[in-house]
């Protein structure tokens, strides 16, 4: 594996493709109205969140139901620091938000990641619910009344910052997981934890590292989101719906692949907003969305990514990546 050439033709094609997508996204705002831009901004955010969740859920094989906690930590750190009594500027708040989320991830990651499967999933959910209740009863978080942030109403700013954050997340994850030793460790851990340990991989360290990385990216998006929507409350940034959406997007897109989560997030979000706006005066879009999710699972079980790389190849690809889980 180490002898793999650094630049293969496949890699060049991929880099060019990625570059083309980034350029297309960079000029997009000039072509669309500000509402569509808002939806695009949301799509970028969800793509980044799905990418973050995929590190723990897809690569390390630990299904977290508690990522809304990190999203909320990011959102609340930014919101609290930007209140008029402190008055920090937005960019200044990003670092504390990320550091705090890493700290929390390290503290809870160690003990929680001793749990397996559904136990881990539900323990993280319990943690997130607990944190949401805590934010609700505290005073400096504004309690249930939430917090308003200074409104900065520049839709281009938020689009580009989401684009930068999202692209950076994907490139970072791709470099770290597909192109570095860390990636081999994390996948070895997922495929067979005792075997990985016997090979001398410090599994606990790798688990906590991946959890912290995932948490940091999630918190970054939480921070941007808070500034973007200008108002947050415990439910809107810590509610289980945030995590549910991340999980479903990754599963629909293609678990444990680099681009699957992006695809799942963008398609699901756009479908969601499209049917929501088309049937805006009734709620029939909700059951329709449910049926779409169920049908995708039934007919595209390897995720939407398998539509692009081919159904058979997608299946092979994913089973190869994921081993025999």
């Amino acid at each position: 594996m180490a002898s793999k050439p650094v630049l293969t033709p496949k890699l060049i094609v991929r880099t060019l493709l990625f570059g083309a997508i980034v350029i297309a996204l960079a000029v997009l705002p000039a072509l669309i109205d500000s509402y569509t831009l808002r939806i695009a901004t949301g799509a970028l955010m969800w793509a980044g969140l799905a990418c973050a969740w995929n590190i723990v859920g897809g690569y390390a094989g630990y299904i977290s139901f508690g990522h809304s906690a990190f999203f909320g930590i990011g959102a609340y750190t930014t919101a609290i620091l930007m209140q008029s009594n402190i008055g920090a500027s937005f960019f200044v708040t990003l670092l504390p938000a990320i550091l705090l989320s890493i700290a929390v991830a390290v503290v809870i990651g160690g003990p929680t990641m001793r749990l397996r499967g559904a136990y881990f999933a539900i323990a993280t959910w319990a943690f997130a619910e607990m944190l949401m209740q805590l934010v609700t009863v505290l005073d400096f978080t504004g309690g249930t009344a939430g917090l308003s942030l200074p409104a900065y109403l520049n839709e281009f700013f938020f689009y580009y910052i989401m684009l930068i954050a999202s692209a950076a997340s994907f490139i970072g994850v791709w470099l770290l997981i597909e192109r570095s030793r860390f990636g081999f460790r994390i996948k070895a851990l997922r495929d067979d934890e005792p075997a990985a340990e016997s090979l001398g991989i410090r599994t606990n360290l790798v688990k906590v590292q991946s959890f912290a990385l995932s948490a940091a990216i999630t918190a970054l998006f939480g921070s941007i989101y808070a500034y973007w929507t200008t108002y947050i409350d415990p439910h809107s940034v810590m509610g289980p719906e945030i995590t549910d959406q991340m999980v479903v997007m990754v599963l629909l897109g293609g678990l444990g692949t680099v681009w699957g989560p992006a695809l799942g997030a963008v398609l699901l979000w756009i479908t969601n907003r499209y049917i929501w706006s088309t049937f805006g005066d009734t709620v029939i879009y909700l059951p329709v969305l449910g049926i779409i999710i169920a049908l995708v699972v039934l007919f595209l079980p390897n995720g939407l990514i398998s539509l692009i790389v081919g159904r058979q190849r997608g299946k092979e690809l994913i089973s190869r990546i994921l081993g025999k889980l």
Partner: protein, 419 residues
């Protein structure tokens, strides 16, 4: 996108056309589509606050239907039909913001109605400000909404901190020596918590002894709270919450053999659904309402408060509560401001800013009561004129019992059969 809108517009206009022809205004519709006033409604049709959200929609729709029967809003002697557009805020602030932006950009609405709940309102305010679209909130009762001094947002219902404490004081005065103690409970969520705090303030102001003040998370089981109330048995129990909690409170209390001597709640008690779901158990329950059908208010479009109630009943099958009434009255405010503005739609940004100014200067009488918005202070742009009345449910009817000038019946205390 264009295709969709033109089809929708077509359908809407054919409906309008049919309606107007039967009413004898055939000439009106020829150019109607160029001169509609486009109203966007952002409200929670789904999610945790769907109950109130749907009530607001009924109120807005009823006004739109009534004004369109006349051919629309009259400006400089010409009538412009109203066209409604909807965005479901899903009880989530971010969805509300998405909805507002969509209505403004894609549906090109001239004015916004809604949203329901303070969280969504706070997230939508900056957007209405950015595009200079006036927003009339038929139901936003949290005082937080007005603290930010929103230039383009106007609220029809006085914030809860103006209504709950007053009504508690009025109730305590009315009961005199008969009541000396009170307990306040409330759901730990924005509106309900503020309601509970208002009640607590009222208890302190009126010199009652506060036995307990307790908040609880939405969705928790009430048996513990009710057992505690039962063991201390205060004279007045006040509850801050929404209709779900009230229904659960009433049924859980009954099952635990507890009936407070006086039970006062705020939002939702006066809604038909609450009375229907709790049946005879609702008898004697007190509520706070800024409007009931018995009040002596009237206007040209809806007639008297009781005419409005009849109309709403024949349209929706249930009696309106104050939320629906305030939402219908939002339309009257728009009508009046547009008339005073005197400019034909469509309105550009500058005209919309003038419209906002005109709304700010509103001073009208409606079936819902007097409407005028505060121009300064902590309730900026909130209609602080309506006076809250204490109402009591008697055999399914909502009867104002205090203060004296609004009273239509005797305050029953204690409720028969209480602990």
């Amino acid at each position: 996108m264009n295709h969709k809108f033109s089809r929708r517009k077509f359908l809407r206009n054919s409906l309008l056309g049919t309606g107007a022809m039967t009413l004898g205004f055939p000439a009106l519709n020829v150019n109607a589509q160029e001169h509609n006033i486009r109203v966007g409604v952002v409200t929670s049709l789904s999610g945790a606050n769907r109950f109130g959200g749907n009530l607001t929609r009924r109120g807005y729709d009823l006004w739109a239907e009534e004004i369109n029967k006349l051919g629309g809003i009259e400006i400089e002697g010409k009538r412009y039909p109203v066209e409604m557009f909807y965005g479901d805020a899903q009880s989530r602030p971010a969805s509300g913001a998405d909805a507002a932006e969509r209505l403004i950009i894609q549906d090109e609405v001239d004015v916004l109605f809604g949203p329901y709940t303070s969280g969504v309102t706070l997230a939508v305010q900056p957007i209405s400000q950015k595009y200079r679209v006036p927003m009339i909130s038929g139901s936003a009762e949290s005082p937080n909404v007005w603290l930010a001094k929103p230039a383009f947002n106007f609220g029809m219902i006085p914030a809860v901190d103006l209504t709950t404490d007053k009504s508690m004081v009025v109730l305590a005065e009315n009961l005199g020596d008969r009541a000396t103690t009170a307990s306040v409970i409330g759901v730990d969520e924005p509106f309900s918590k503020e309601t509970a705090e208002g009640f607590r303030k009222g208890v302190e102001e009126s010199g009652l002894e506060l036995l307990s003040y307790e908040l609880f998370p939405a969705g928790s089981d009430l048996s513990a709270i009710i057992s505690k109330l039962k063991s201390s048995n205060p004279d007045i129990v006040a509850v801050g919450g929404h209709e779900d909690i009230f229904i659960n409170f009433v049924s859980t209390a009954k099952a635990l053999n507890y009936k407070p001597k006086a039970l006062i709640m705020h939002y939702g008690v006066t809604s038909a659904a609450f009375i229907k779901e709790t049946g005879t158990e609702s008898n004697g329950i007190l509520g706070v309402s800024v409007w009931t059908e018995g009040l002596p208010y009237k206007d040209e479009l809806f007639g008297t408060a009781s005419d409005y109630s009849e109309l709403s009943f024949s349209r929706w099958g249930t009696r309106p509560d104050y939320t629906e009434a305030a939402c219908s009255a939002s339309g009257l405010v728009l009508q009046d401001a547009a008339r005073r503005l005197g400019k034909a739609p469509p309105w550009d940004q500058g005209t919309r800013a003038e419209l906002a100014k005109a709304i700010e200067d509103t001073d009208i009488e409606t079936f819902y009561g007097p409407v005028g918005f505060a121009k300064e202070g902590s309730h900026y742009h909130n209609n602080t004129k309506p006076v809250p009345a204490v109402v009591q449910i008697k055999s399914g009817d909502i009867v104002p019992v205090a203060p004296e000038n609004a009273s239509k019946g005797e305050l029953v205390y204690p409720i028969p059969g209480t602990s």
